[in-house]
Symmetry: C2
């Protein structure tokens, strides 16, 4: 495998899973050429006039769409760790004797550890997509035949749209659907809110299978996925475990350190003038960012400030802000709890988005760069403000990128990180895996102080005299190292097991074999 140093100084392969790969060329350094992917033209001659596309089982569906060895099979992760469908699909493919499939999930979860036996048996050749938990570990330890390819949500849309990944068969788990294939995530026993992560798959895949446990008469409304893209529909008893799809309640951190981080971040937004009438923000679903949203809400109430929109992942707190009028719209990418699902089903101000609208860098703009502040986590951040979200400092691949890279386009991108995890400092000399270039990361908030990227003199000026503990990142690092001792660098192997793509499809970094 040929490796070159990219514009970030990272060693990356020039070929990934048999395709030429473009090394990262710097932020804004790569311009796409070519045309969007174009599936074969379909004809109504091949579909029933009465619109009933049902077949009897997942195996029948896979045969109906012509699943063959070596094909790319995609799935979405809106059912999260409650998903039953992706496992059923590969179990059926194994029973049909198919081999060397590429699984292209928008993300995988511990429940998908089931696929390890299909990787071992050769049914699945490799996985391109976020691998959380056991599959990350499987890849990390060099047991997967191909390279893992980690893409952001926007990068996955970009890769599909640009034809970097041609999906042969998309399987869309649908909480509600009709026999024509119209599908929605906002209702049904396995309701998950929305299905935006499957939208590109439905548009660009050659063949599309909708799997549902809640068939309704045509028309299924809303049609988040349009039946006109769908080849066959399968009814199953259950597409997943509702208790693991959305949480019944949202859990805010109760760690004093993390509460302090959240509070500092919210106060920073107020002090810097980001929290002004008509502003916008994005906060994820983690315990710390949830707490951030609650602190921000209190500051907004006190200041009488309302936001034009908040970007989801949505949850109870965001829905409360919408109801209270503190937020005029939620532009939602995924729904994390039952309040979020109920809201997106019934409130027209709570809007279904997709990686196309929100994150695709190869579009005519996207929403991410219009967000005033995005609040994110990280596993590591270094002195250049570079961020890592996929590996831990021991080099193990344990997390996906999600929308993290895409959110760095916000006017202010803030990383909310504890100073230590398992007694290892989070601020490091150089990140183990580069996921986000430091020039896009504006603020790092820890419980011991706030580091502002020196490139953002405007922010430094804005918060001067605010009383916030603004400190150079080097000072923060030095303090952490004094407490813990600077960690021993973990020697890395020279065997790539995965690559991290940047939002423009270039290769930003390599994940190396561990263990």
């Amino acid at each position: 495998m040929k490796l070159v140093e990219n514009a970030a100084g990272r060693l990356v392969p020039t070929e990934v899973n048999g395709r030429d790969a473009v090394p990262f060329a710097g932020v804004g350094g790569h311009r796409p050429a070519g045309r969007r992917a174009a599936p074969r033209v379909a004809t109504c001659l091949d579909y029933p006039d009465d619109g009933d596309k049902r077949v009897g089982s997942i195996a029948e569906a896979l045969e109906a769409v012509g699943l063959a060895d070596g094909m790319v099979v995609s799935s979405h992760h809106h059912l999260r760790n409650g998903d039953a469908v992706a496992n059923l699909v590969f179990d059926a493919a194994a029973a049909l004797g198919r081999r060397d499939l590429m699984w292209f999930p928008s993300a995988s979860f511990p429940v998908h550890a089931n696929q390890i036996r299909h990787l071992e048996a050769g049914v699945i050749h490799h996985i391109e997509g976020s691998m959380n938990g056991p599959l990350g570990d499987y890849c990390s330890t060099g047991r997967m035949r191909g390279l893992g390819v980690l893409r952001s949500h926007g990068g996955r849309w970009q890769a599909i749209q640009d034809g970097e990944v041609g999906i042969d068969v998309a399987v869309i788990a649908a909480p509600t659907a009709d026999a024509f294939g119209n599908a929605t995530g906002d209702r049904g026993p396995a309701g998950c809110g929305l299905l935006g992560f499957a939208l590109a798959d439905s548009i660009y895949a050659e063949k599309v299978i909708v799997v549902t446990d809640n068939l309704v008469p045509f028309p299924c409304l809303p049609w988040q996925i349009q039946g006109n893209h769908v080849d066959v529909v399968v009814e199953v008893d259950s597409i997943g475990d509702p208790t693991k799809i959305v949480s019944g309640t949202t859990r805010v951190t109760n760690s004093p350190d993390r509460l302090r981080i959240a509070e500092l971040a919210a106060r920073f937004c107020a002090a810097a003038g980001i929290m002004r009438p008509g502003f916008s923000f994005q906060a994820g679903a983690g315990g710390t960012t949830l707490a951030f949203a609650i602190y921000l809400r209190d500051l907004m109430r006190a200041a009488g400030v309302t936001a034009r929109f908040a970007r989801g992942g949505s949850n109870r707190y965001m829905v409360e802000m919408l109801s209270e009028g503190l937020v005029e719209h939620i532009l939602d990418g995924q729904t994390f709890d039952l309040d979020g699902v109920a809201s997106i089903r019934s409130d027209p101000r709570h809007v279904n988005t997709s990686p196309f609208t929100s994150y695709n860098f190869h579009g005519k703009g996207n929403f991410a760069s219009m967000v005033d502040v995005a609040v994110l986590g990280a596993t590591e951040v270094d002195l250049e403000f570079n961020g890592n979200v996929v590996t831990h400092s021991d080099g193990r691949l344990l997390h996906g990128i999600g929308g993290w890279q895409n959110c760095l386009a916000a006017r202010c991108a803030m990383l909310l990180v504890p100073s230590f995890r398992d007694r290892i400092p989070v601020i490091v000399e150089e990140v183990t895996t580069l996921c986000g270039p430091g020039e896009l990361i504006d603020v790092v908030v820890t419980e011991r102080g706030i580091a502002v990227n020196p490139r953002r003199q405007d922010l430094l000026d804005a918060v001067a005299g605010s009383g916030l503990p603004i400190r150079p990142i080097e000072d923060l690092k030095a303090e952490l190292d004094r407490i813990c001792g600077s960690p021993q660098p973990v020697p890395r192997s020279d065997q790539p097991v995965a690559v991290v793509k940047w939002v423009d499809g270039t290769v930003l970094d390599t994940v190396w074999k561990v263990g």
Copy 2:
């Protein structure tokens, strides 16, 4: 120009405006090859981070998107005869000195007679799209340089999707929009309901310009057109005359003959068992089909039958049926009056559709074939049940196809026609222009009786003994000819001025020069 006889026995050119054309091969006789059209991949690098894509004028917009001689410029017709934008665009193109443009409207109206001077001056080379009124006459009399190409709404989507027509610049008149280009038709001073006819243009055009007279802060909701497809946004004082965009009230026919036709058609639906619980219907916005909907409503009330869905064009009567619960959903393609606009804006059961969902024959099914009965008009129908909607018996091109061809896919396609127009019988030996093959036309309803296509013995059996005036079409024709005298066939020239495409993109017939 080389002409061949197609499967319908019609003489058609093998090349249309410099492109090879496929002669009609019979209903279901043509299978598409190849892949969908694919615009160049865009990049956020070329669009402002703050999402503000506004430029100062339509001329600036045309320059910003690189309008060049010979390009294809598209527009939609949701503003109908009130549209100001298409005229402004070609006025601006003329002022910029551009030549030989192809105008590709989803339809044109008398207000667009303005374009005749641009055709004469060479700014516009030719028009592909329905030409109602003066432009139809201009084309009909052989003054246009290229061939007119008449497509159904579904055929226009198919042509764009399949790459038969590559749109260089789409101009989308938007009753409400934000600076990012998100746009909706359901509100604003020039509110027209929806923008579905512009959807393909927004997705497949290389460059997209949104023109609005009602700019709102991001996010414009709903986003019927997604700003992620849009290059530039222009604010103008007015995109059109609201009084000519939607009618304030819906006008039902008061002609006794046409009321009788409407009543017979509704009674036929009841007698034939089409009007059964959970059925679906589509009725257009003409005076007779409106009256049909009212008669049908009364029969539904009396029988206690509700429809699962009705396909729009929507209007006051359909909205009333929705409110009353006689219709569960309106799947709307265009909105014809203010009640329709108000309903689609506020009632989630009144749903925005597009030619993709409803009509595209080169999709994985569409809605049209799932409709139990579609009620349509025609200018002529012949003894083989072939229908004409674009020319009159004198050969003049005066109408567009609209969704007419697409609706023939319904389980029962009914033509509601008066026996005579201007003392010329509507039932003829052979249609002047073939727009719909007779095998798809099931029933012809006139005030003098109902002719059922002999292919539909099931319908004949169902209405036997109903007391409805069922008559062979030959009998009806003979009666009309006795009254008027069989009309003199109008000799046709041998100069094609336009072609009629079938829903699969093949050439169904030719329109010949008159006068």
